[in-house]
Symmetry: C2
Subunit: 181 residues, 2 copies
């Protein structure tokens, strides 16, 4: 009952060539998502656009969903990269200034790759393995909440939890819609 060694090695890239393949696949997935939409992103199509065979795709990804997850994660990392600096500064700012910076940051984050962001936010069905992918909102909520705790004396509100919820949700929705429409 020996398990097939040929089918197992999903996701293990040690040489440089293979890393390039993985990259090409993720990039192709993103391009298709943006230009043709989620349901046109079939495994065969992705491999074709990436200039790679389907077989190679399945050597590194267990399926289409895994590709999409990779795209989302890559986009989130890129976004954070361009925003991390400003986000650190906020901590030392008074609320008055902080909210303005945060809005600026939110806008900047949405501008990294608006089209991809839109697809991720509006077109990817949040089911199966896709629903587990952490959203921005939650991360932002935590950050904002700890900031408020550190500046509690500047505020009139007592329920920081509620305040965070209201602010993060509003800012997120506003910037999202503003940048996209």
């Amino acid at each position: 009952m020996a398990r097939r060694p040929l089918t197992k090695p999903r996701k293990a890239a040690s040489q440089e060539r293979s890393r390039a393949t993985v990259d090409a696949l993720v990039e192709a997935t993103a391009r298709i998502l943006v230009k043709e939409g989620f349901d046109k992103a079939s495994t065969n199509r992705i491999a074709e656009v990436a200039g790679v065979s389907v077989g190679s795709l399945y050597q590194y990804f267990p399926g289409k969903e895994a590709l999409v997850v990779s795209v989302i994660e890559r986009h989130q990392q890129e976004t954070m990269q361009t925003v991390r600096g400003e986000l650190a500064e906020v901590l030392a700012q008074p609320v008055e200034k902080a909210v303005r910076t945060l809005i600026a940051v939110a806008v900047k984050a949405h501008r990294v790759d608006p089209k991809l962001h839109r697809v991720i936010a509006e077109q990817i069905p949040r089911v199966g393995k896709l629903e587990k992918v952490g959203t921005f909102s939650h991360e932002n909520y935590m950050l904002f909440r700890t900031y408020l705790e550190g500046h509690r004396d500047e505020l009139r509100v007592t329920d920081l939890e509620l305040a965070s919820f209201v602010c993060v949700t509003s800012i997120e929705a506003l910037t999202h819609n503003a940048v996209l429409h």
Copy 2:
């Protein structure tokens, strides 16, 4: 070149039995959307859950998208039904009171069928024929805007367009997230 009469009669229900079939199909679609997600909603599956044959499905709906549109429209009508009254009262209220009523209305609207609402708002890909289905936001935006115009003298803001955008977007996002989590 006679056109096939057998294929045409999509969507025409005169007897009661057929109306029940149509209802069962729409209901089944809604149930699948909520419990299994959009991409599990195949025509075969819908027919099966509805206790109807695929053939009957195609007698009344040209395809899966039409079913989904029906579900959305039915949900929007149901929502409006439970909210129409309060919405009419708002027009006569001063801003101070009006915003509170509007938020109450928004919450009530989201409570009609939260799970279905979520699927419609977050999971249905806005592509193809589905993207033409009018969203709530736009309708609400228009209503709110005309209200503001009627009460311009009570306000300090000049850009009613922007004010509407900010208010509608925020309220929508807040109630949506609040009811769901």
